[in-house]
Each structure stands twice: as structure tokens, then as C-alpha cells.
Subunit: 153 residues, 2 copies
Amino acid sequence: MTDERRAAALEHLMTVGRQHSMVTVMFHSAIAAKQGLNATEEKTLDVLQRRGPLTAKDLAEHTGLAPASVTGMLDRLQAKGFVRRVKHPTDKRRVLVELDETRLAELAVFFEEWARDIVRACEEFDAQELETVNRFLEVMTEAQSRATARLTG
Amino acid sequence: MTDERRAAALEHLMTVGRQHSMVTVMFHSAIAAKQGLNATEEKTLDVLQRRGPLTAKDLAEHTGLAPASVTGMLDRLQAKGFVRRVKHPTDKRRVLVELDETRLAELAVFFEEWARDIVRACEEFDAQELETVNRFLEVMTEAQSRATARLTG
DNA sequence: GTAGTTAGTTCGTCCGAACGAAATATTTGT
DNA sequence: ACAAATATTTCGTTCGGACGAACTAACTAC
């Protein structure tokens, strides 16, 4: 009986999860399009956000681009105001790339509105339910991460 | 007390949700890369999957591409074996585009493996918890969908 | 200090993917 | 039946973004 109910929920999850993935991807690319960023540029910004300032070489490795391509991409990102080239403290050959906070602040404004929307949508869930959801998302993030690595590597 | 716990869970949700979005997007683009599809081609396949066989004109509207571009993209998708051009039953000017099942079947094999992984990851959740998760994902899908529309339109 | 290595840029090139305009085939309207 | 409208393709062009090779500047090792 409970087994049956669980099986039904699990099957439903497949459908619902698929739809959720879809709109997540669409949302993501809508944001990118709004900012006039292509996939490579986004990836670069994402890497910088997580790992902090990096050299062009580091970025080349993370993105898989040739050195010349990194130069071109950084030119574009800099022109759009998303990043800055700053001099490396010890090695004058290197170029440190860091995010431009002012540009990120503009983004933050948009995300705040979005976050409020999310919070409102969560009103119908109590503390315990939200904790369950968190646990689920963590487990899923792990699984998706593994699956991606399996595909990429 | 419970309010505090809920607030903590909600804040945690923001972090966890962001990470989950990130890996979802990465997973998605890893699949696309594996199949040798670009963003436009993917979008087209997605539309066809949801709305069934469509004419080139319909696809032009859904993708926002010029007619000439649709022709080129369909040539590519057809060459890769993802779609077929079939003649329209009543109007010989039109071209109906439909998905190639055999190609999708290959994909299905991969997704089955992935689904098993997901099911295993869900073992730690009982029926009630999965129902909560489903409800959450539905609510979120709605919210994300609205946010995307707000950005796009 | 000189040779060799490393980081990044510049330059010329190439390719995929988009476009508009013109061409073709077919349907619709009168 | 004939003109206008519609769906798609073809063709020539353009543009962004990637590349390799050559170049410059700076660090490292001996």
C-alpha cells in the first residue's frame, strides 16, 4: 500500500523533475541572453565566481580554450564590463582576471526580485518540508554531478 | 523557534537550489555536446518532442529563426539522423518535421541508466517525502517559468 | 648574464551558423 | 483561369568566435 504510493510518487518525480530541469535550463539561457553573453563567457564568469581571480592560463585550462581564444574572450568580457585585467602581484607576465563588482551588483538587483518570488512560492512549505527538499536537492546535485562527469570524462 | 528553523532552511535552500541549477545546466549541455548538437538544434528537438510533428514555419516561429536558417538547421538535424522531413498530408508546399525514433531510442538507453541512478539516490526518501518534493518542484517550475517569461517577453 | 621557458597578445585564417533576396512550388481567392 | 499569397529552398554574404603561428615581455636556471 505504502509501497504503491511511493512508487507512484517516484514515477511522478521523473516527469516533474524533467519539467523542472527544462525550465531551469531555459531560465539560465534567458539570463545569459539578456546580458549578451555566450556559453563560453558565462562559463568563464562562473569559474571566476567560484574560484576567485585567476590568470588567463588558468582560465584556458578551465574552459578548454586556446590561449589566443582566451585573450579574445577576455577582451569581450572586459568591453562589456564583466571583468577586469589586473597585474599579478609577483609575476609581471601574468594577467589576473577578476570580476567587476559593479556589474554583478546590477545582476544582484534582478536576482533579489527573483529570490522574493521564490520565497513567496515557498510559503506553503513548513520547516520540515523545506529540510526534506534541501536534502533531496543535495542528493540530486551529487547524482547529476556524477552523471555529468561520466559523460564528460 | 520553528520560525527560526524554517528561516534557516529557507536560506539554505537558496544555496542548495543554486548549486542544483548549476549542475542541471551542466548536465544538460554535457548531453548536448555528447550528441554534437548546438543550442538551436536542441531547442528544436525539444519543441518537436513536446508538440509533435511541426512544419518548418512553425519551427521558425518557435525558434525565432529566419526561414532560410530553419532549412539549414533541418538539413543538419536530418544528416545527424535526429529528424525526418515527411510530406504534409494536405498541403504539398509544407514540410512536416518529425523526430526519428531510432535515434531517440539510443538516447533512451542512456537515460535509463541515468534514471536508475536517480531512483537509487531516492531510496532514502519515503512516499510522503517524495510527494513533498514533487509539490515543491511543481511550484518551482511554475515560478521559474514566470521568471523566464518576464525576462524574455 | 645568457639561454631557455613561460604568459599573454597579435595577426591572419577558417568554419559554423545566421541572414536577406530571389527562385520554386503550391494553394487560395475571385 | 489567373493573380496574389504562402511555404520552403537555394544562393551569396556576413559575422562571431575559435584556432595556430609568430611575437613580445618577463621569469628561471645555470
